[in-house]
């Protein structure tokens, strides 16, 4: 695409600049992007920004409702739980473990999965078929079952929960990226690049990568969503963080007996998981649209 800068000369935008220009037009997506960045900042600074410590108990304020409900105070904005601990601080602390763990897993899976997927797609013969069959076997085991097995094998801890979730999500990512690369391999520009004598690395970097941006973004979004949901599910079942550490799923499980006494202790963590996933989804959806439009 041609743009005019202030020197009034016609310049060709790079594809990334063009995608960014298209992305900026989508107000919703830009807003979601800023909120996502804000969420990452909250995760990084969670210990600094909370007003109360998530572990300090206030015996004079037990089971306070949020401040907008009769009986709540602005001192504890989201109220307190049955031991008098500040709900907002616990929410932020739990969010740190859930969201941070999901981010970590997504980065790890994207790196390892890209290497495995590219190897499986670009090699032929026995190496590719072993990778393929192993992945097929792993894909048939439900994620919850893999996680339970790993946790039984290695013991219950937050680290093992993260390892279990990433092992159960890795085959899906590898399969997705494998299919994306294979669909590109028969294209004419790839064959031309191959005839030029390009090595596999060069082929991936300049031939395949720019063309699989859209499936890549979709896949990473999917993996991230699944990672949050699964960390929360494992935490809820008691296989995630161990006390005193908290995590959003565990927060819900801890307060499940209070569901009629103070339902917001259950509703708020679930709502936070839901809103996080929605915002990240809106952001990546906008990115995906920009990439699709840029390719046309």
């Amino acid at each position: 695409m041609l743009i005019n800068n202030e020197f009034n000369e016609e310049k060709i935008q790079s594809p990334l600049q063009y995608i960014w220009a298209l992305f900026k037009k989508n107000n919703f997506a830009v807003f979601a992007m800023w909120v996502s960045i804000l969420l990452v900042v909250i995760v990084l600074l969670a210990d600094v920004i909370v007003l109360h410590s998530p572990f300090v108990q206030y015996p004079e304020h037990l089971l306070l409702p949020p401040y907008w409900i009769e009986g709540g105070t602005t001192e504890h904005i989201f109220g307190t739980d049955d031991l008098g601990r500040d709900a907002l601080a616990r929410l932020i602390k739990g969010f740190q473990y859930t969201f941070g763990g999901a981010l970590l897993i997504t980065c790890l899976i994207s790196l390892i999965g890209a290497v495995i997927g590219a190897t499986a797609a670009l090699t032929k013969g026995i190496k590719a078929s072993i990778l393929h069959h192993l992945l097929d076997a792993l894909l048939t085991i439900p994620t919850l079952l893999i996680a339970l097995i790993l946790i039984v094998l290695f013991g219950t801890s937050y680290q093992n929960c993260l390892i279990a979730v990433s092992l159960s999500l890795l085959p899906q990512f590898v399969r997705g990226i494998y299919l994306a690369i294979v669909s590109q391999l028969s294209k004419q520009h790839i064959i031309a690049l191959r005839l030029d004598g390009a090595t596999n690395i060069r082929l991936l970097r300049f031939g395949i990568f720019p063309n699989i941006l859209e499936p890549l973004v979709t896949l990473i979004n999917q993996i991230f969503t699944m990672a949050i949901l699964e960390i929360a599910t494992l935490g809820f079942l008691g296989f995630g963080t161990q006390s005193p550490d908290i995590e959003l799923g565990r927060l819900i499980a801890d307060n499940i007996e209070l569901s009629f006494l103070s339902p917001w202790l259950i509703i708020l963590p679930g709502l936070l998981i839901f809103l996080t996933i929605m915002i990240v989804n809106i952001f990546t959806e906008g990115l995906r649209h920009a990439i699709i439009q840029g390719e046309d």
Partner: protein
């Protein structure tokens, strides 16, 4: 076709082999009686497989029953939940997906897709807890836990309690059947929330791909009405590609169903595994791998072959070499 069948069965064989080795390793780790042999793992594996094929899976230390019986009963309950949820979400999801795909980028599309996005973003266990609070909050007469009221002692014939309660019709009439159905409603609603969002998304994508194609434009210029186009051209081409995509989600669906069952404490695979782990009866894990993964593997290969039989466009790859 024979060639394709052979390739599929080959794949089935290799994947089943990898799975059985995985289960064997788990069994080796979890039970002490297997390691007594003087270190010859090949013979040990052969013996383990013979035992599995003959149905001797070892007894559970919780209720002294065979793991196979326990697992099959538990998994059939999970499967029942999945099938009921699948049925309702097909009824809800496919028409909505068709509307969203037909009127792409309209108001209807945005509304339907926002609902689908919400369905995919809600954590299933949390939604289950919230729905458990509903009967009390709104005074609905719905049971919130267990899988059938203890009043009815339904004999176990097929494992699917909906069908079993129909077999017990001379004992309780239709009461047991309706009781089971009432117990299934809330878990099925939660599961179909996820499932129908997934189906809406896939249907919409598939329909909008078909709507772009030239034969739809030709049908439009012929002057066919929208209904005629949809029923004559769109559905036949758009619905079959959804099936393999849904098949890929099979393990996600089952694992969500397991989590939901734990919340509703109905005796499915989730509760079985959870109780086994809590009771340190780890030999249930290899049994679960064999039952659940074996089911997913077999059903996905059967779906692949059926797909090949019913859909001419996928059959094309049998004849043309890329």
């Amino acid at each position: 076709m024979l060639n394709y069948l052979f390739r599929r069965l080959n794949l089935l064989f290799f994947t089943a082999f990898a799975l059985s080795i995985f289960a064997f390793m788990l069994a080796l780790w979890s039970s002490s009686e297997l390691t007594a042999n003087n270190g010859n793992y090949v013979m040990l594996y052969a013996q383990y497989m013979m035992d599995i094929l003959q149905g001797q899976w070892g007894a559970s230390i919780i209720n002294q029953q065979s793991h196979m019986v326990n697992g099959l009963i538990a998994f059939s309950s999970t499967l029942e939940l999945c099938l009921v949820a699948l049925l309702t979400s097909i009824i809800i999801g496919i028409p909505l997906g068709i509307f969203a795909g037909l009127y792409r980028n309209g108001v209807l599309d945005y509304t339907i897709m926002s609902i689908a996005l919400i369905g995919l973003a809600l954590p299933a266990f949390w939604l289950a807890i919230i729905t458990m609070m509903l009967p009390v909050s709104f005074a609905l007469a719905l049971p919130i836990d267990g899988d059938i009221s203890p009043l009815y002692e339904v004999p176990n014939i097929t494992g699917f309690q909906l069908i079993d309660s129909l077999f017990a019709i001379e004992l309780y009439g239709l009461d047991a059947f309706f009781d089971r159905l009432a117990h299934l409603i809330l878990p099925a609603v939660v599961l179909s929330f996820f499932l129908s969002s997934e189906i809406i998304r896939l249907t919409r994508h598939s329909i909008s791909l078909v709507m772009k194609s030239n034969y739809i434009k030709a049908a439009n210029t012929k002057g066919l009405s929208v209904l005629q186009i949809v029923f004559r051209h769109v559905l036949k081409n758009a619905l079959p590609p959804i099936i393999p995509l849904l098949r890929l989600q099979l393990n996600t669906i089952i694992s969500i169903a397991m989590a939901i069952e734990i919340v509703f404490s109905s005796h499915g695979a989730g509760v079985w595994l959870f109780a086994s782990i809590k009771g340190s009866d780890y030999a249930a894990l290899p049994a679960a791998v064999i039952i659940i993964s074996g089911f997913i593997l077999l059903s996905s290969i059967i779906i692949d072959i059926l797909q090949m039989l019913i859909s001419p466009t996928t059959r094309r790859i049998l004849y043309a070499d890329k």
